[in-house]
Symmetry: C2
Subunit: 194 residues, 2 copies
DNA sequence: CGTCTATTTGAATGTACTCAAAAGCGGTGG
DNA sequence: CCACCGCTTTTGAGTACATTCAAATAGACG
């Protein structure tokens, strides 16, 4: 199993001992997912935290009218799960689906909690990771909520150029809270203006 | 110094030993703030994590045109700080101001980090607290971004009835991403309809 | 090659905003 | 205690940004 990427990812925040690293890796399992397959479906309880080794995912929820709303993308070196469902152990409101063939590492919530009890370094890693996520999502919230469609798209391109190339327009539109049609006119305008 | 409320708050997630509780309390100091005084100003680096013992705060940022956008309220038993500024040790984008005379407990970022190194229980507390915040803010993000003005206000009333009563309309309008004028018409409609 | 889905374009509509002005309310000084 | 001032809330008219619906074009996949 290829744990290189995840260990490098963790090493950016905390230094695990070789034993801790081995312990972690022994708890991980590989999961291969084909394009369009679901990692999580609405109503399921999210039992795992996932780390993307390869591929691309989108997380979305369905509103009352059945429309899909994307709210998270994940590619290589990103973590993904439904944190709400996982933490509260309640049925998920959202779906996670592969946009490309993908390989994940997964650790079950139960094993993760046990591991955190005996590995303060990992407790620390997640504390820091969540702290950064929170800092970033708060800023994202400000930006997304008070910016025009064009500003939002410019910000997205700036921040995630690799995603802008890789992910179909309609999913970016949804991520930005726009209709595909209107997003397309915005996008054309931005491309013309540079 | 009155540490009852904060210790109860922490006790909901983790059990601190009496020594750990004393250790924590020795690091806290009381801060009294009058209505309209600033706890944090844009450009300052946020050096503390705060816990509200009494009173009410709003956090907002100024956009390019000088308009204020509220994004967080805190009352008794809530934590508040600019997590982005505090964690990255960069100048804050936001302002935090008291809406009422208030009393806070504060702990400096430096002391907090030191404390977390020696108190795995508190590391755990913050990991869990951030985890819940993240779960909730993600859900809030979904709701706020894809709901109409009226739905957003109904959700706000439902979730924070105490804030709806306590905070001036114009600040709720801003929190919901609406102009005070438009918010007022929405609010009137909701009050009429029940 | 044909089918299905995604993107592009346009017209009509609606939601929320800006600007303007009146009415209400709270605090302060005479 | 009341009158005034400033700030907040309410109301309305005109406008802009984004949506819905419809249809044509382009692209992906079997």
């Amino acid at each position: 199993m290829n744990c290189d990427l995840i260990l490098k990812n963790i090493d950016r925040q905390v230094k695990l001992s070789p034993d801790e690293a081995d312990d972690l890796c022994s708890l991980l399992s590989v999961r291969k997912i084909k394009k369009k397959e679901f990692l999580l479906r609405e109503g399921d309880i999210c039992l795992y935290e996932y780390f993307v080794n390869q591929g691309c995912f989108r997380a979305y929820y369905l509103d009352l009218t059945g429309m899909e709303h994307n709210f998270y993308f994940a590619v290589e070196d990103w973590w993904i799960s439904d944190i709400h469902s996982r933490v509260y152990a309640t049925p998920s409101f959202c779906n996670i689906v592969a946009l490309e063939d993908a390989e994940l590492l997964q650790i079950s919530q139960v094993r993760l909690e046990e591991f955190l009890q005996r590995a303060p370094n990992m407790e620390r890693f997640f504390r820091i990771a969540y702290q950064f996520s929170l800092a970033n999502i708060q800023l994202k919230f400000l930006r997304m909520f008070h910016m025009s469609a064009e500003e939002r798209y410019r910000y997205f391109r700036d921040k995630y150029p690799q995603l802008d190339q890789r992910i179909p327009q309609k999913h970016i539109a949804s991520f930005l809270g726009l209709t595909p049609e209107f997003f397309n006119t915005v996008r054309s305008k931005v491309l013309r203006a540079g």
